[in-house]
Symmetry: C2
Subunit: 258 residues, 2 copies
């Protein structure tokens, strides 16, 4: 059986999801005729596979989770939306007259965000962009993008890149998920297996697939608030507040230590 090709999974998927939502442009058809919902396939390194509807990446504010609205009220100054995707939140921030830059590593996602009207975009990794001299007041990590902390090894490097991009008084507003409320034996065993391997329990090892494409395998972190606090130790960021009204999801606000 052929291995999938490595490519811009997220971009291809978002392009198709946008075509399906708007009814414009070529889109995948079932039986060559019937439009099918665009589905993101997520493989985990223990063999688990899940599909999830991709359309939510394009949700208008009326369709958002309540914590996304609360996150936007915490933004101030120039916002860097990290993992901006199709611009779901950045476009709304721009509409409100705030300065916002959308950063993503997916060329296809950036293209869709621009087509939807997002003006200021950066196609880059956070590491490479951190040396470019730009400065921000708010770093936004929504859509579970606190997961970009990845691991105990990666988190301080990622947080240091943000510190280098930070104006004095800057904050990170990040949405995370506490994975430990589950009783599903598939997940409980996975958390244990991770710990046995010296990883954080919710340190997911994933790859995304869409049609003919796959990403490389990468880490994506679901962590508890306690674990997040520990990851901040020794970095230039401290935990300012937690909003866990929509448990297991939470919003963490971190501020730059002056």
């Amino acid at each position: 059986m052929d291995e999938p090709l490595i490519g811009d999974v997220f971009g291809e998927m978002i392009r198709d999801a946008y075509a399906v939502r708007t009814g414009r442009g070529p889109r995948p058809l079932a039986g060559g005729r019937v439009p099918r919902p665009v589905i993101e396939v997520i493989e985990r390194d223990d063999g688990l596979i899940n599909g999830a509807l991709a359309d939510h990446y394009l949700d208008e504010p009326a369709e958002w989770q309540p914590h996304d609205h609360r996150a936007l009220r915490l933004c101030r100054g120039h916002v860097l939306d990290i993992g901006v995707g199709a611009g779901r939140t950045a476009i709304e921030i721009q509409r409100r007259g705030m300065a916002v830059t959308g950063l993503d590593t997916s060329r296809g996602a950036i293209e869709v965000a621009r087509r939807r009207g997002l003006r200021d975009t950066v196609l880059n990794t956070i590491d490479a962009y951190a040396v470019a001299g730009a400065r921000y007041d708010t770093f936004l990590l929504l859509g579970n993008n606190l997961g970009l902390l990845e691991s105990r090894q990666r988190a301080p490097i990622f947080l240091d890149a943000l510190a280098r991009l930070a104006n004095p008084g800057a904050r990170i507003i990040a949405q995370g998920t506490d994975p430990y409320g589950t009783t599903d034996p598939v997940h409980v065993s996975y958390h244990r297996r991770n710990r046995e391997r010296g990883r954080l329990g919710g340190q997911l090892r994933l790859r995304l697939r869409y049609r003919m494409l796959a990403t490389e395998w990468f880490d994506y972190l679901n962590c508890s608030i306690e674990e997040l606090s520990a990851l901040l130790t020794g970095t230039r960021w401290r935990l300012k507040s937690i909003d866990d009204e929509d448990r297991p999801y939470y919003l963490a606000v971190m501020e730059l230590i002056s």
Copy 2:
């Protein structure tokens, strides 16, 4: 990365889809709390992967495709519903007072069909069941189950098993898909690649995955009406009529040669 386990993919998936639809029983949750739609993941041997919502396997008659209703009007005598799944069509046939038996190789699917009220079920392969001495007047292959013909090699064996289960004057009512109307380069190349390997263009090589489970790789045939005619040559069945009103889908009625 761990290989998935081989198991009753379809059964596990249908059990979860039934739990989600009815709101009863344990079901997979996102973040340990939020019910997620159940999605069937289909891998093809060229690296293509697709997700499809599984809920349609439980559709009530009001939600069916028009050709499913037309298929049921063609049933007569004792019906064997092959690949009965969760009993979508068999339960409606039973409700109409007709004799119907549902056959499937998935233990989980049969359990859901019985829980939904289907009385006469067989957990078996068609090959093993063909020696059991039962006789039917109609063989129903809906939900694209004409695909169970698989290949040039398998089709005559499958059709012979049905002939051994057939009363005089029996018919097969099968829903198929003509795959050749597509212009999607991914599918056009796949059809060519199949032909280069001596396979029928739409002879899909697939495996299904759901959560921790996978099936073995198997063939599933999307064929044109011309290809179907050719596959019937030399068997005990002849093509009686085609209903292609819902192209690319079609209903083929085949009758036993007396």
